[in-house]
Amino acid sequence: MAAKVKQLPSRGGTPAEKVYLIEIFKGMGITLRHFLRNLWDNSNLYVRHYPEVQPNIPAHWRGRHRLLTHSDGTPKCVACFMCQTNCPANCIMIKAGERTDGITEKMPVSFTIDLAECIYCGYCVEACPEDAIRMDTGIYAFTSSNREEMKIEMDEMLSLKGGYTEEEYQKGLEDE
């Protein structure tokens, strides 16, 4: 597809525009309008009063990771390393071990994601053949005062719940 080109008329050539002052006054008129409207009643502001008013996070939004479990609570992950291989930020660290409960042969012994390095691209979710990792927790605020705490471990990710129902999540994937 050819790139769409929009030609904007070049401005600033007419004598009236060259005087400059007139255009400045026009611009100042615009800013004054915004100022007076907001000064008159500051509920006209476009900003959200953030910590008190939370944004509405859609289902396909990529938030913090979580690991999914089977109905018996064991991890779905089979330690195939697909996500780790795919991760452009190299922030997933998996150690694989043997699985003894007979569901599969392998499972992760430890599964660490360094959220300080993660770029929230979602490739890990796409790469996973077992639908074992998702980013649907809806958690977008994650801070810490040191780097070590930004690494999240398997237990923590297993215990997180999805922020949406299954239908919402699937619909979100289609919307994406």
């Binding site: 800013t31 000064l39 500051n42 502001l45």
Partner: protein, 429 residues
Amino acid sequence: MTTLDIVMVIVRVSISAFVPLCFLAVCVTMERRVAGFVQDRSGPNRAGIYGFRAGGLVQNLADGIKLAFKEDIISEHVEHKFLYVLAPIISMAAAIISFALIPFADTLVLDGKAYVMQGIPWDTGILWFLAVTGFSVYGIILAGWSSTNKYSLLGALRSASQVISYEIPMGLAVISLLIVYGSINLSDIARFQGQNWLGFIPMWGIFLQPLAAVIFIVAAFAECNRTPFDLAEGESELVAGFHLEYSAMKFAVFFMGEYVAMFASSAVIVTLFFGGYNIPFFSTDFLIRNIKPVAFVMLVILPVFMFYFAKWIRRNNRSQYPRENDPREAEATVYIRCFWILIGVIEVFLLAILAFAQPDTAAAHLLVALMQICTFLLKVTLMLFVYVWVRWTIPRFRYDQLQILGWQKLLPLALLNIFVTGAIVVALG
């Protein structure tokens, strides 16, 4: 010297020294809140003491405390430590004393003695302002040079050349004004503007000399290093320009100096072009002779004004989301009560004047002087608003554009203005 003389000296000097400093808080808050509102966001309004935010004023306090307690670093590579420390002092001091010769009220007559309402009662007037603001660029140059840092030096160079090129149109604009006013004394200039033309148009500089007003205001913006002429600190190319190496309180002094200079130049613009302390249409004599009607009008207007002001506070000082027992409503109630108490006190004074004062007594003179000070400060605040408003509207000039505007546009216009003004003045005899 009588006691009254000494008291008047103290009053005048403290007004001219402390009012610019007090206006710092107003300037900084206004800058931030106006910037916010122009961009449809709200600006700093969270910092508060026990929930009292005073519309963002408390933020200044927080910033001030932060800057005062920060570590004051002088980098190893700074060679001329004395000049390095001197630089912010120069720019702050020059900014404060440039306000010293600006009259903030008409000459006050008490006990048959006249007191010129300026910080320093000299008649050098506008020349003092030109000289002192020219001096303030030394602060910037010294800061840039002694920092031993190429960005600082570049910023200082830009600032120096800018001030030199804009001082010329500024001076020439002043000359054409002086032809009209016939005096360099700012008190005389302000008094001249108290007259009316045909009885209803105030004889303000902006009406007599519109071109000089535009040139002077543009040049004043450049002198203050304000956007659109803030190349000296163009943060995108020079990091922060001349004050790059300054930290903590030394930076704060630069920062305050900038705002005080802005205040002083607003005051000069108001004095030269917008009638100074004059209340439009009412001369000082008229006010003093009719002190009772004036007091009565104020008595009526103030509560009406306060009523609408209280409504505005109510509308704007509340949480913008559903909240039970909104503490901000309670906050607004406190503010409104404080303001009503203030208005009540003023009303009592006005009533006393209405009941006892005779025209042309000390009380009448004092009341008129107070009203003129308020008018003057109101006009200056409006001018400061223009400074802020322009800053958040216009992008920064490129360096060559700046010089072209100064030398090729403003300079010929200023010269032309002098010739035209001279011709008209000669023709009218």
